[in-house]
């Protein structure tokens, strides 16, 4: 296979500033016209340990994690230890001599006197921009863009700091020459007009485009960056951002905000969401719209706090006592992150149901480059009405959906009740009313139009791979590598309700392959239970890491994980 992409891995300690390198390099790549993607993994600690980031650079749209390492930048003395199985004879390894020789590898070693250079500048912190200079030269990026970015990033710290970062960058450019190697990637002019963003940012942009103007949440990895993103925008975009005392308060506040006519969201992870489940049920009976961003990480319990897994589909599916409808989306790309979150607000408002956006650490912390969205094509529709004096919040209708009033807008009263209630929203134990209300709630999604699975590959296939959420890019790239026209991929961006085309798509295949980043194959179980369709091969992983392309190539071809 001809290589048309490179994989650069930065390996260092927490607190060392990997983030500074990545964010600048990503902008540099995008503005220089390269497709790029970053996958991040880190330990649950503030300092020390070993964290790595994989940056992929390509001439085509790219978004998946690979095992392969073409260039490894070692920034700490234990930086090689966890990467040995991924280093081959093609891997260029750069870094302080002591670091890159701390383990025996087959890699091509390029010792660099980074510490010595930093002594000239007086602080090891500048090594971040030395690495940027190095990478910039190796991938022929436009250095002017880097200087502008450095200026912008450090201007507030004074001219001396800006100058030293500039010098560090130049040192990197010089050191790159000593490597006697370069990585040729074809530029794509189109990329210069695109936008580099993280998964978390995509959810935040989606929320803003969906009209979100209230977020109440409690910090929990990996969901917090969405809260931080909206907090950064609170003044400019008029969002009430409230850090709640706990997740229970967070979702109850969000329901109070929807009741008042705001568009509210919570962002949380499995353990935090578990605390919210009573209020999910409340949203069911009071028929409140609700948008829940559930950022998955491995459980049970506190699990692996900073790692990735798709283990909470069942939690989202069954959270909340009693019967009531819900919708669950799982974005696979950063464009999906924006579009699905926007859609979540629209669907929640129109159908008065809780809607989930199910992501995970791999999706959220990763960064990619995506086309700019034309927001004029993503309008929002507030469905609340101006009430009159005869207004009934839960008026029985054929669609099951009653007009939603909000307090003080009109002459009616808006009465919502956690107990079973009359059409007027007041407590009742009348059996006939109870039956009518249950049936009303359960038919609310009858008119809902599914987000159908996205078919990648030919419409005629023998083998169909099924996946959802953050595995999208890895499965897609694996199929490109396998290059077998008889294999297609059905991506479920809507995992619940199961889209109406699910049965037809799956029953056509001779062989069904399920890919899920969890231990039990939760979507597979749902499909088996609802449609009686079983998978021939299941590729599951629950070690806290995302699937690599290579793993899936092997798994899909060979029928084993």
């Amino acid at each position: 296979m001809q290589i048309r992409s490179y994989s650069v891995v930065l390996s260092g300690e927490a607190g060392q500033g990997l983030k500074t390198i990545e964010s600048l390099f990503m902008v540099l790549l995008q503005k220089s016209g390269y497709h790029a993607y970053i996958a991040k993994e880190f330990m649950s600690r503030v300092r020390g340990g070993n964290n790595t980031s994989e940056i992929r650079i390509s001439d085509k749209r790219i978004g998946a994690f690979v095992d392969r390492i073409d260039l490894l930048v070692v920034l700490s003395k234990n930086g090689l230890d966890r990467l040995l199985p991924r280093i081959g004879s093609h891997t260029h390894i750069v870094g302080e001599e002591a670091y890159i020789t701390s383990q025996k590898t087959e890699g091509i070693l390029h010792p660099l006197p980074i510490a010595e250079k930093m002594r000239e500048l007086g602080n090891p912190i500048f090594s971040n921009n030395l690495v940027n200079g190095l990478l910039s030269a190796l991938f022929s990026c436009d250095a002017d863009i880097a200087y502008q970015a450095i200026e912008k990033q450090f201007a507030s710290k004074g001219e001396e700091i800006v100058e030293k970062n500039r010098q560090a960058f130049q040192m990197g450019l010089e050191l790159a020459k000593t490597l006697n190697t370069s990585f040729d990637v074809k530029m794509d002019e189109k990329v210069k007009g695109m936008y580099a963003l993280s998964g978390s940012e995509s959810i935040g942009i989606g929320a803003l485009s969906g009209g979100c103007n209230f977020i109440s949440s409690y910090p929990m990895s990996p969901s917090t960056a969405v809260l931080a993103y909206l907090a950064k925008k609170e003044r400019e975009y008029s969002i009430v951002v409230e850090q709640a005392e706990d997740e229970i308060a967070a979702i109850n506040m969000a329901l109070g905000a929807w009741y008042t006519g705001a568009r509210a969201m919570v962002t949380t992870s499995g353990g935090g969401f578990a605390l919210m489940t009573e209020a999910v049920s409340l949203s069911g009976i009071i028929e409140s719209p609700m948008v829940i961003h559930l950022a998955q990480r491995p459980g049970p319990g506190t699990g692996l706090p900073t790692r990735t897994e798709q283990g909470d589909l069942n939690l989202a599916l069954y959270a909340g006592h009693g019967d009531f409808p819900r919708v669950i989306y799982a974005p696979g790309t950063y464009e999906d992150g924006i579009l699905f979150t926007h859609r979540a607000f629209e669907v929640a408002d129109e159908f008065q149901v809780p809607v989930f956006v199910l992501t995970d650490q791999h999706f959220l912390d990763g960064e990619g480059i995506t086309e700019k969205i034309d927001f004029s094509k993503l309008p929002t529709h507030n469905h609340f009405i101006k009430t009159d004096a005869a207004y009934l919040r839960y008026k029985l209708t054929d669609s099951g959906i009653s007009d939603r009033g909000i307090p003080s807008y009109g002459d009616g009263f808006v009465c919502v009740d956690s107990d079973e209630h009359t059409e007027g929203g007041r407590i009742t134990e009348d059996s006939e009313v109870r039956i009518a209300m249950v049936e009303k709630r359960m038919r609310k999604l009858d008119a809902y139009e599914d987000l159908q699975p996205k078919l990648v590959g030919k419409e005629e296939y023998k083998t169909l791979v099924v996946g959802w959420g953050s595995t999208y890019e890895a499965i897609k790239e694996a199929l490109e590598e396998i290059d077998d026209a008889s294999i297609s991929f059905a991506f479920f961006g809507q995992v619940y309700p199961l889209p109406s085309l699910t049965y037809d798509l799956l029953s056509q295949a001779d062989r069904l392959v399920l890919v899920e980043n969890n231990a039990t194959g939760q979507l597979g179980e749902l499909i088996a239970r609802e449609l009686g369709i079983f998978f021939d091969t299941t590729i599951l992983q629950y070690n806290g890491s995302p699937f690599s392309v290579e793993q899936l190539v092997q798994g899909i071809k060979g029928g084993q994980a």
């Binding site: 209230f214 209020a279 609340f384």
Partner: protein, 283 residues
């Protein structure tokens, strides 16, 4: 009984003789006397006999989950500061299940009236100890008497910076109405702990007991003196009634301080975003 625009005809689920009947009437009269428009009011409550109050009032309400009435009330105020918001519930609802929200909403200081019916017992679940039950109080669960220290909502509220902290007894109609009205007119979080006898499950703390074990603070009492208020909050048998603490200068409320309201006072539902504004997000 005086007629008000807040009267709502329905069957009421409280026990005959319950103090809640008195409070319901006093609340409606207070609202009427202040000429509150029924559509401008929202009552947020949780679960329990006290939390059923809004069901019997002609107004908008959010009768949500046990313990969460104050969280919802805060959010309603943050989403539309023009509404008059009352959070109402019992001692179990607001001080037990909702204890964490009680603490942190005082810190938020929303302009919300917080009415807590305090009967020192659980009514709806039939007679277990509440956070405010006195030591030694015997129940079907605390069979040999309550061991835990009773929760002191007033000292907690004052220590957390609540700007308006009061206590009343439903048996004193004039005082109760006067406090409710002052709380509504006060711009900031206003707590009224309301002694409200449970005739079915608390045979100790009865109407007669509350009457004998309370006294009204006289006009010489300086409610702006926080340390004195703290001392009053620790008094018991007799318990002082009236405004224990009222901050004289204005303490900024959360809804006044959120950046979303810095340049725009409209409720959130009136605001929109343009495609151009959104396009800036990807530049």
């Amino acid at each position: 009984m005086k007629k008000t625009r807040f009267d709502f005809a329905s069957e009421i689920a409280w026990c005959p003789g319950c103090g809640n009947f008195l409070l319901l009437q006093l609340l409606k009269e207070s609202l009427e006397e202040l000429d509150i428009k029924p559509t401008d009011l929202v009552i947020s409550s949780g679960i329990g006999q006290a939390a059923k109050m809004p069901q019997y009032v002609n107004t908008s309400f959010f009768n949500g989950l046990h313990g969460r009435g104050l969280s919802v009330a805060s959010a309603i105020k943050m989403a539309n500061p023009n509404l008059l918001v009352i959070a109402e519930g019992g001692d179990g609802d607001m001080y037990g299940e909702g204890g964490n929200h009680f603490i942190h909403n005082i810190r938020r200081n929303p302009n919300v009236v917080h009415l807590v019916h305090n009967n020192m017992v659980y009514g709806l679940t039939q007679g277990q100890a509440s956070p405010t039950s006195p030591k030694g109080f015997k129940t079907p669960i605390q069979t040999e008497g309550v061991i835990l220290e009773p929760f002191n909502p007033l000292s907690v509220a004052i220590s957390l910076g609540a700007p308006f902290v009061a206590r009343t007894f439903v048996g004193n109609a004039e005082l109760t109405k006067s406090l409710i009205k002052q709380a509504i007119q006060y711009n900031g979080y206003a707590l009224i702990d309301i002694f409200d006898p449970c005739v079915s499950f608390n045979k100790i703390n009865t109407f007669a007991w509350y009457k004998a074990n309370t006294y009204v603070l006289d006009e010489n009492y300086d409610s702006s003196d926080k340390m004195q208020a703290m001392a009053k909050a620790f008094e018991s048998e007799p318990f002082p009634l009236g405004i224990l603490y009222k901050r004289e200068d204005h303490k900024p409320t959360i809804e006044e301080q959120h950046p979303a309201y810095a340049d725009d006072k409209r409720p959130l539902y009136e605001r929109t975003r343009t495609a151009e504004e959104l396009a800036h997000l990807m530049e």
